[in-house]
């Protein structure tokens, strides 16, 4: 439904405004249109005797666009499907439904040559630099291999050495000679993640998918890595997908923020708008849960617990739903304090709000006509202008 929806969008406002660009936007490198991924659940004995095959609905109907020179953040709890989206975009597994397009052309890289050709454009950085580097190989090996695979090692040892030094310099690991022959265990977490980034950059990609790139790092060096990614984005005109559970860092780092809940996108828009004027009740819950020192600075030392005691009954104090049998309608409705009748049985489409923000929430349906029964929620109902 998001597909039809995006087509009927109005002309984009001037400048790079996330979420409102038309199809032919030349800055869009990678896009996903209505992508779903279901993982089949292993059948137990009972299921074999008859009964339908169950699946984990990890990602349902996700659409997003990555533009050159722009960072898109994907925020959500663990299990919300954000990493699955990254892996789908990296073509690590095939989508159950929907389409991933690179430069407007459908991309369905299988394995082997086609996959490598795709990888040249789209690279993935993993969360844990302690696990994503091979402990028995040096930095030189990791980077040389990546350069060779993508045919950028040049000819001869001198050119390779130059390429290696350039890569390390790009991620601010200088002098290169100090790091090239180091093993991963000799490096700190931040340095390891920089090596992982350098390895991704070895393909000279246009899209970088960063799956929680800083959450395993020490707090004091996280910003260094984020600033490095931002610097790379600016210098090389990269499109970056920044996956995180930390919405404050999304505000800091990303131009556009998308919020996922239980496999679906629930809100999107300019980072500043999404964090300052969250529209979807889930985004509000997420923001209210984020640690925020400002909340207590007025109070004395133990003021932090003052307002919390009475809130245990709040409906959000439950857990995200099972994705094997996700709730009908809006997946957030069992936890939503503002849930209405139709939230229970009809999936909300995207409703456009001001300034490129959108939310998949019936609260923003201003059309007023509530189809009595049965009819699938029409995508076109969402010309709301709630603010």
């Amino acid at each position: 439904m998001s597909e039809e929806h995006s087509e009927e969008r109005a002309a984009p406002p001037p400048g790079r405004d996330p979420g409102t660009a038309p199809e032919h936007d030349g800055r869009v490198v990678l896009e996903a249109e209505g992508v779903s991924k279901h993982f089949p659940v292993r059948r137990g004995a009972r299921a074999l005797l008859g009964g339908k095959r169950r699946a984990v609905h990890a990602v349902d109907d996700v659409s997003l666009r990555l533009r050159r020179g722009s960072v898109t953040a994907l925020v959500g709890e663990s299990g919300s499907g954000k990493s699955t989206v990254a892996r789908l975009l990296a073509q690590l597994y095939p989508a159950t439904a929907g389409e991933i397009r690179l430069d407007g052309r459908p991309a369905r890289a299988g394995r082997g040559r086609a996959f490598r050709a795709y990888c040249r454009h789209v690279q993935l950085i993993f969360q844990d630099p302690f696990a994503s580097l091979n402990p028995v190989h040096t930095v030189r090996y990791h980077l040389t291999r990546a350069l060779r695979i993508h045919g950028r090692a040049g000819s001869g040892a001198a050119e390779l050495e130059k390429a290696l030094a350039a890569l390390l310099e790009r991620v601010q690991l200088t002098p290169a000679s100090r790091y090239l022959d180091a093993f991963p265990h000799e490096l700190s977490g931040g340095q390891r993640q920089r090596v992982a980034i350098a390895r991704a950059m070895a393909a000279d990609p246009r899209v970088l998918l960063a799956d929680e790139p800083v959450s395993m790092l020490d707090v004091s060096i996280r910003l260094g890595v984020l600033n490095l990614l931002r610097d790379l984005k600016e210098r090389l005109d990269l499109a970056i997908l920044y996956i995180t559970h930390d919405i404050a860092s999304a505000r800091y780092f990303a131009d556009e923020t998308l919020v996922m809940y239980a496999g679906r996108m629930v809100e999107g828009g300019d980072s500043e708008t999404v964090t300052q004027r969250p529209a979807h009740p889930y985004t509000r819950l997420l923001l209210a849960s984020a640690p925020d020192p400002d909340r207590v600075t007025g109070a004395a030392g133990d003021g932090g617990d003052a307002g919390d005691a009475g809130e245990t009954a709040d409906p959000s104090a439950s857990e995200p739903p099972s994705l094997i049998s996700p709730p009908a309608g809006c997946r957030f409705h069992p936890r939503c304090p503002l849930a209405m009748e139709r939230c229970r049985d009809r999936t909300p489409p995207r409703f456009d709000l001001d300034g490129g923000q959108w939310a998949a929430c019936w609260l923003y349906d201003t059309s007023g006509d509530v189809p009595a029964t049965g009819s699938a929620p029409a995508a076109g109902t969402g010309r709301g202008s709630a603010s």
Binding site: D218, V219, G224, A290, P293, D294, D302, A309, T312, E319
Partner: protein, 365 residues
């Protein structure tokens, strides 16, 4: 223990004036012995007061977990406590030296008086035992007089205490979500109603929403049961919200300690300042943040003088030569502790280990 619990906490005058429950003095811990020894903790002085939440913040390798293990005597070789003392003040009793306890005394002390929620607690449940077995196990060991039915009853009670329906008692850990497993761990830590609960990064692996729920529950439980909490995390913004006092560790030393709000408003150590400015804010202007340049020190090659000086933007001449010691900051006492003499009681006021501050103090004095 819980019977006498509710009265003193109902109207705490100030966290800073409550009696201490755990006093750590000059604690040093080495990993390894002889020439290869690495000093993980240097002369740590810290006091935990009754009913307070003491936050321990620092990066990996700063010694915060080592401190927790040392005070509970859980440090396994090659960790060696090389100096200092840890005194536990039981309710209405004489202080006990934890470091001098015999194995038998330790067995009674652990979990009964001090319990610990381990780092990665989500994975510290035994996967082949049900929650019931694991919750009743501790009761079986420490309360042999309890009958089986009583133990199960207590386990049910504990589960509902942490907001899990008691019918999940028969569940195996893999049948519970991460947040629920974490809560089972917290329930287990509270099983014997200890005086002190040490939480080593209890919510790091959880989502913010779940994290807030669990912390909220913890705060509520602490009010009900009146235990003290040592909360270890690297997330200082979380500590500011949830703890009464914060001690910031760097390179095996406490570099600053103060009330949570004070530290947020006016960090005195450049490292505290850097740490606080490593978290992007949710509100207010979007600023360019830099974090702290460099990386945390390697314990095998600690910088001379102040361990932070190679990364410190304000480092000056004495920083590389002499190590600053934790000293009280006069003139900064907030309303809550002006009545106490900060000069000889470093624990009530704020203290900081930085030459910068020393200079300032000298100038003022």
């Amino acid at each position: 223990m819980s019977t006498s619990a509710t009265s003193p906490v109902s109207a705490p005058p100030h966290a800073a004036t409550r009696p201490p429950v755990l006093e750590i003095g000059g604690l040093s811990v080495d990993y390894g012995v002889g020439d290869g020894a690495v000093r993980a903790l240097h002369d740590v002085d810290l006091t935990l007061r009754r009913g307070e939440v003491l936050g321990l913040a620092g990066e990996s390798g700063s010694g915060k977990s080592t401190l927790a293990y040392a005070v509970t005597r859980l440090l396994s070789p090659p960790g060696v406590i090389t100096g200092g003392d840890v005194r536990y003040h039981p309710r209405g009793g004489e202080p006990v030296d934890v470091l001098a306890m015999t194995p038998g005394e330790l067995r009674a002390f652990r979990w009964q008086e001090v319990s610990i929620v381990f780092q990665g607690a989500m994975n510290s449940l035994n996967p082949v035992h049900t929650v019931r077995t694991q919750l009743t196990d501790v009761l079986k060991a420490h309360r042999p007089q309890m009958s089986r039915a009583e133990r199960v009853g207590r386990a049910r009670e504990l589960l509902s205490l942490v907001g899990i329906s008691p019918d999940r008692l028969g569940a195996y850990p893999h049948q519970l979500s991460g947040g629920m497993r974490q809560r089972v761990m917290i329930a287990m830590a509270l099983a014997l109603e200890p005086e002190i609960v040490v939480m080593d990064e209890p919510t790091t692996a959880l989502d913010v929403v779940m994290q807030r729920q669990i912390l909220r529950q913890l705060v509520r439980l602490r009010e009900e049961l009146d235990f003290s909490v040592v909360f270890i995390t690297h997330d200082i913004s979380l500590l500011i919200e949830f703890s009464d006092r914060i001690a910031i560790m760097y390179g095996g030393r406490v570099v600053e300690q103060a009330g949570a709000a004070e530290i947020y408003r006016d960090p005195r150590h450049p490292y505290s300042h850097g740490l606080l400015h490593s978290f992007p804010a949710l509100h207010g202007p979007r600023r360019e943040l830099t974090g702290i340049p460099g990386s945390p020190p390697d314990l095998r090659a600690m910088p001379s003088g102040c361990a932070f000086h190679p990364r410190c933007p304000k480092a000056f001449e004495p920083c590389g030569l002499r190590t600053p010691h934790l000293a009280p900051v006069p003139g900064t006492g907030t309303g809550s502790d002006t009545d106490t003499d900060t000069g000889n009681d470093t624990e009530t006021g704020r203290s900081v280990a930085c030459w910068l501050n020393d200079d300032r103090r000298d100038g003022e004095a």
